[in-house]
């Protein structure tokens, strides 16, 4: 029992009386409240997989559509499978989306095993119940005539949207761009800031105090206060030209006063004896840094690695400004432009969003502790 830290409510109050009742109410509200963050994501995933005519309904269950047979091209075909042309209430293109025919409304004929298909046209006796619905031509098993109506139910998980988004966004290319920027930025973040922090901690050179103070001062200057002159600087240096302008993204990000101060705080806490022992053993400064300081600094490296990756993946405005060529855009910039084109379907945009949030969610679930530590530190230092 002693292991649980005492908080506002005592054990007795948790269990008995008005306070217990209130406590349970608050807990209930808190758990219910998580729907406010979880449901939107569920909604996104659900909606991302819906067919266009179903998109307006609830994302987690399908809305049946009414359809009407408008033509029977081969009316003389008396076999069990007949090709018919149908029309649905919503005229959107359904190519590739999957529907299930559920029942016939207008005529008396039972068509329980009716199938809808396009590819199936070549093989009328297929038994598949779920087939792709190409345009508005169906293959129906049973007797149908012009004017017959029935209900079709869109299938819930239209993986088709993901494929459309994947191709439309050119996901492979743009997430690869993001990964390259992440890797380059990460390497520089660690190298530049850890080395400088170590120097400021253990290799005090003349002027180190001034340098440390100058670094600290940059924390006081909001990025938005300098992004216009920064933009001029990177364009004048020509960084926006080679490699789609990636250097203009990576280089200004490399020096990061927050990371540097985190590193320095950690290196400052290392015992002097340890550093001296390594030096007496004849290790060079780089070796001491690499063999002694870095392995001990693993926790802080963890925080910074996760933060750096997350920040670069999520970053939008700066790459949007400095990357001139569409092929070089990281995913976030591409997503924004993909939406702006106005040609993409609503579901494919949502599918792209759902895919784009997977890496940060994965990072978050894997490295919760590091992320929590980083955000707590940023509040305390800030």
């Amino acid at each position: 029992m002693a292991s649980i830290a005492r908080t506002l409510l005592g054990d007795h109050e948790r269990r008995f009386g008005f306070s217990a009742w209130l406590h349970r109410l608050v807990i209930g509200a808190l758990f219910l409240g998580t729907l406010s963050t979880l449901y939107p994501l569920l909604w996104l995933v659900g909606s991302a997989m819906k067919s266009p005519d179903d998109y307006h309904g609830h994302p987690l269950w399908p809305t049946p559509l009414n359809a009407r047979v408008v033509a029977v091209p081969h009316a003389d075909n008396t076999g069990p499978g007949r090709i018919v042309r149908v029309e649905t209430a919503s005229p959107e293109n359904k190519t590739g989306h999957i529907y299930t025919l559920t029942f016939v409304a207008s005529n008396e004929i039972e068509v329980r095993d009716a199938t809808i298909g396009a590819i199936a046209l070549a093989e009328p006796h297929t038994e598949d119940r779920d087939l792709t619905f190409d345009g508005l031509t169906l293959l129906l098993r049973g007797r149908f005539d012009t004017g017959d109506t029935f209900t079709i139910e869109p299938r819930l998980w239209q993986v088709q949207n993901l494929a459309e988004a994947w191709a439309g966004v050119n996901f492979v290319r743009h997430s690869m761009n993001s990964f390259i920027l992440m890797a380059a930025t990460l390497v520089l973040h660690l190298l530049v800031n850890a080395l400088a922090a170590y120097a400021l901690s253990w290799l005090r050179f003349p002027g180190a105090r001034l340098v440390g103070f100058a670094f600290l001062m940059t924390l006081m200057v909001p990025w938005y206060a300098i992004f216009i002159p920064l933009y001029l600087t990177v364009t004048e240096l020509g960084l926006t030209v080679p490699f789609y302008g990636w250097p203009a993204v990576v280089l200004p990000a490399a020096f990061n006063a927050f990371f540097l101060i985190l590193f320095k705080g950690f290196f400052d806490g290392l015992p002097r004896d340890l550093i001296d022992a390594a030096r007496i053993d004849g290790a060079g400064e780089l070796q001491t840094f690499w063999r002694v300081a870095v392995p001990l600094a693993k926790p802080i490296f963890g925080v910074i690695v996760v933060f750096s990756l997350l920040a670069t993946w999520n970053d939008f405005l700066w790459p949007y400004l400095v990357i001139g060529r569409a092929e070089g855009e990281p995913l976030m910039v591409r997503l924004y432009n993909y939406e702006l084109t106005g040609t993409a379907t609503a579901e494919s945009i949502l599918a792209a969003l759902a895919l784009a949030m997977l890496p940060p969610i994965a990072l978050f679930l894997l490295f919760q502790r590091q992320i929590a530590a980083g955000f707590t530190l940023s509040g305390i230092k800030g």
Binding site: R6, T7, L8, E13, H23, V26, L30, T34, S36, T37, L38, P40, L41, Y55, H56, V192, N193, L195, A196, Y198, A199, L200, L203, F205, A208, A214, F215, M220, V221, Y224, A225, I226, I228, L232, T233, V234, L251, A254, F255, A257, G284, E285, L286, W313, N314, L317, L335, Y336, E339, A346, L353, A356, M357, P360, I361, I371, F375, T376, G379, I380
Partner: protein, 315 residues
């Protein structure tokens, strides 16, 4: 064996070498742009050729722009709403979640989740939520039968109460952005308060309980005073952050809807001057004014917190 002084000398040289990349990058991408941000607003910037000295012409021009006052007003309005919602919510979340024994990890996780999502994804997603026909808010409002009441209100002078236009309604666009920003950001602030609560010794509660203090008395006299230093920092950070509101209106409303530009913020104005009009001097002039405002806020906080000293007793 090298003498001690040469060893120290070599160590200093190595230190300078280690710090050199950071110093170089700092000079080019931090110090120089900062210095330039002070100069640029006073120049007539030209892409080709030398820039002329412009004195305070740029400042006079931007202040004379009717959108300038509009942008400041909107930014202040955003900051006000964002604090109204975004300041108490994380505190309440942290205090209540801290009381939960079973499932606390899940609650932290769930409330924090939006923080790690990219703003582009969140903005494009919430655009759908705010959709007038299919958005989840309107579906919910109409679903529980509030739609009819709001429809009837729409015919009276209380028409502005109807939120169902969301980001497409000039009155509701800004609150909608605030709502989204709070949803996205509250989890991070909550975590900071939770960390602060963790450092509060349980013995204080124990002693107060023995003295007969009720739960609410303990909340008022122990929990909240303990959080006051954190609250002061967070308040300033949030104020500084909200004055720099940019991505939400940029991604979702572009300053609109309509000609009155109800969501045009200061940074959005800077962006327009710079990248729509390519008038970098005007942009820098507004940026300079914004920078002064941010510094002023930070300084006022410094002065106040020094004056208040042990503000904890205020509770």
């Amino acid at each position: 064996v090298p003498s001690k002084s040469t060893a120290i000398h070599r160590r200093q040289r190595t230190g300078l070498l280690f710090a050199a990349p950071a110093i170089a990058l700092f000079l080019v991408f931090a110090a120089w742009p900062i210095a330039r941000s002070f100069i640029l607003g006073f120049q007539e910037y030209r892409v080709v050729g030398d820039s002329d000295w412009a004195g305070i012409d740029n400042f006079a021009s931007v202040v004379g722009d009717p959108f300038f006052a509009r942008a400041w007003w909107n930014t202040a309005y955003f900051a006000f709403l964002a604090l109204l919602l975004g300041f108490p919510v994380p505190i309440a979340l942290a205090i209540t979640i801290n009381e939960v024994r079973r499932g606390q990890a899940f609650l932290r996780l769930a409330y924090f989740l939006p923080v790690v999502l990219p703003i582009v994804v969140v903005a494009l997603l919430w655009e759908r939520f705010y959709d007038v026909d299919d958005g989840i808010f309107n579906v919910a409002i109409n679903g529980i039968g509030l739609g009819g009441i709001l429809d009837r209100l729409g015919e009276t002078s209380l028409a502005a109460v109807d939120p169902r236009g969301w980001i497409n309604d000039k009155n509701w666009a800004m609150p909608s952005l605030v709502f989204m920003a709070t949803w996205k950001g509250a989890g991070a602030t909550m975590l900071i308060y939770l960390a602060a609560l963790q450092s509060l010794s349980g013995e204080l509660y124990e002693a107060a309980e023995i003295d007969g203090a009720s739960v609410f008395q303990r909340l008022r006299r122990i929990t909240l005073p303990h959080l006051v230093p954190t609250m002061q920092i967070i308040l300033v950070l949030q104020l500084l952050g909200t004055l720099q509101v940019f991505l939400e209106p940029f991604l979702m409303t572009r300053g609109g809807p309509g000609d009155t530009q109800p969501t045009l913020t200061v940074l959005l104005l800077i962006y327009r001057y710079a990248f729509n009009d390519w008038n970098l001097s005007w942009a820098a002039a507004v940026g300079f004014i914004l920078f002064l405002a941010l510094v002023t806020v930070a300084l006022i906080q410094r002065l106040l917190s020094r004056q208040l000293g042990g503000a904890g007793s205020a509770f």
